[in-house]
Amino acid sequence: MSDTAPLIDIRNLVKHFGSVIALSGVSLTVNRGEVMCLLGDNGAGKSTLIKTLAGVHKPTSGEFLVEGRHVSFSSPRDALDAGIATVYQDLAMIPLMSVTRNFFMGREPVKGVWPFRYIDFDRCNAVTREEMHRIGIDVRDPNQAVGTLSGGERQCVAIARAVYFGAKVLILDEPTSALGVAQTSMVLKYIHQVRSKGLGVIFITHNVRHAYAVGDRFTVLNRGKTLGTYTKSEIAIDELQNLMAGGKELQVLSADLGGMV
């Protein structure tokens, strides 16, 4: 492991689902203390790419290096153990389970001696309530089922969970899509904090302003291919916006939109 090697380095990644070609050769690097924004049109393959990094999908071909070493994850647990925490677009929550149980799922803190180890639910509830409060959600009851939370509340659980458990790399797939104004600004602040702790962040968004606010580098995907990677200094915000649309005409509606959706 070399300290100069990028945290994540993928080279020419290809992923097929049966006859569907979701990724046809994508390359990407993420360094320590860097926010890499992954941008692109709907269906460009962003989620597929990060699911491959997170160990959910096995790549069809291509190389994947973490801190300079080749890896091949056989399950998301491997990726978690390697320090890659992910907020999935579909959130990976169990609707019938409580907020607390979802928050700590797979990484429950236990008390007592084996075989009488049990989960310390008082502490878990307190942590959950506090972390949710930090992100701007006032949970009525940490034992409420996640399925009865609002869309934004649920998304906040997923984000708070990923941030709480720390990691070398934090992957956020459209984390702010369902969030309110206050929660969104909180998540952007989190990204900032996480970067300054030296972690790498992959941030997927369709909001060019969010991307430009926190991103250091921008990789644009289109139809399963990389359109290019730019540092913030190389590209202006409206140029980036045009790239993100993947060659589609924008319907400019009103002056209020100011060209940026």
Binding site: H16, G18, S19, V20, I21, A22, S24, K58, N222, R223, G224, K225, T226, L227, G228, I235, E239, N242, L243, A245, G247, K248, E249, L250
Partner: protein, 383 residues
């Protein structure tokens, strides 16, 4: 959008092309016809059927694959299959009906009672039997819908209730016996009878036998005198159910109701009506099997249809239905029933000791589904 170029460097947005018939999408690989076929749930069970057939071709007595042997395999498969197809539709719609086996016994009893006790003509008795079955099926459905209890437990209660009522009713109708005989004689002859019992295409088969195309018994009667009507019903029902599932509005609603009842309801699908209809259909399928077997056997008893609900679900699952609903096919259940029928009758054509029967039944079922699964993955490249 299909004719838009895909620059790898920043470029000005390109206006979208006309929504023409797409030519070739670079995001799709070529797939063979075989792959596309194997991906259909309808045809998955075919591989299992082929495997089972090959197994018996190599181990069983040659008489199994004569015309008479095949009819012999198809006859029980047909009765099971009618139930399995209905069960498959209901499972696709997201519910179970564990009462179909008992319903076969109960419908057999009331059909027999209508004929022998009230003395109604055959057609009326059949219609009344279907009406009662549909009513009971609808009752099942309404209880499930109104109470939101799992259909498993509601229809399980009806499994016991209908089985018990069959016993009580039989004893009442026969004055103490659990077997009712002499139904065949009361049914009389005629076109209605011919639709529900005996063989179809008898003329053709007689002609074939006369010309020695079909084997004959020593006394000159052909070994096969026609296609049992239950097989005809089976095939027609499978075809109709497949058409409904794949081509009609009702089919779309069934998939939707089973896939996610909430989402379907929110999209305007009358989920409750669909489910009630399906419960009525399964009950009627059970009544059909009851009428077919009662007319065929001329008698009914309180054990008729015992565990058929279980076998029907097995056949549907072999045929690719998901227990969780929203996925499956009628033609899959069709093949599933044939596989199940072939395995259970086929073993009697082999030289295995019948003590081993269940071991073989289990192993063959497992092999059939494993093989079918293996082939599908191989062909479609799924993992």
């Amino acid at each position: 959008m299909t004719d838009v170029s895909h620059p790898t460097a920043p470029a000005a947005p390109v206006p979208p092309g006309p929504a023409a018939k797409p030519a070739r999408d670079e995001r799709l690989r070529e797939v063979s016809l075989l792959t596309r076929i194997m991906r259909r749930p309808e045809l998955g069970a075919l591989a299992g059927l082929v495997l089972v057939t090959l197994f018996f071709l190599s181990t069983a007595d040659a008489s199994m694959f004569t015309l008479a042997g095949l009819m012999n395999i198809l006859a029980p498969a047909a009765q099971l299959g009618i139930l399995a197809i209905a069960a498959a539709l209901l499972m696709i719609g997201g519910e179970f009906d564990l009462s179909i086996g008992s319903m076969v016994a109960f419908a057999g009893l009331i059909f027999g009672a209508f004929l022998t006790l009230t003395g109604w003509p055959l057609l009326v008795a059949i219609a009344a039997t279907f009406a009662v079955a549909a009513f009971l099926g609808g009752l099942n459905g309404q209880i499930v819908i109104r109470t939101k209890l799992p259909s498993f437990i509601v229809t399980l209660a009806f499994l016991f209730i209908l089985r018990g009522l069959s016993l009580v009713g039989l004893k009442w109708a026969t004055g103490g016996s659990t077997q009712m005989r002499g139904i065949g004689e009361r049914a009389g002859e005629g076109i209605v009878r011919e639709i529900f019992s005996g063989n179809a295409l008898e003329g053709l088969f007689a002609w074939l036998a006369a010309h020695d195309v079909i084997a004959r018994f020593p006394n000159g009667t052909p070994t096969v005198t026609g296609v049992p009507v239950s097989i005809v019903w089976f095939v027609l029902f499978a075809a109709a159910a497949t058409w409904v599932l794949l081509r009609t509005r009702a089919g779309n609603w069934i998939f939707a109701a089973g896939g996610d009842a909430n989402a379907a309801r929110n999209s305007g699908v009358p989920v409750d009506r669909v489910k009630t209809g399906l419960f009525m259909l399964t009950a009627c399928a059970a009544a059909l099997v009851a009428v077919l077997t009662v007319l065929d056997a001329g008698s009914t008893d309180s054990r008729r249809g015992f565990q058929k609900e279980f076998e029907a679900i097995i056949a549907a699952v072999i045929g690719g239905c998901l227990l969780t609903g929203g996925y499956g096919s009628a033609i899959g259940a069709f093949f599933g029933a044939i596989i199940f029928g072939m395995v259970s009758i086929g073993l009697t054509y082999t030289r295995f000791d019948s003590d081993w029967f269940q071991v073989f039944l289990g192993a063959m079922l497992l092999l059939a589904v494993l093989f079918n699964n293996f082939i599908r993955r191989k062909v479609t490249g799924e993992r």
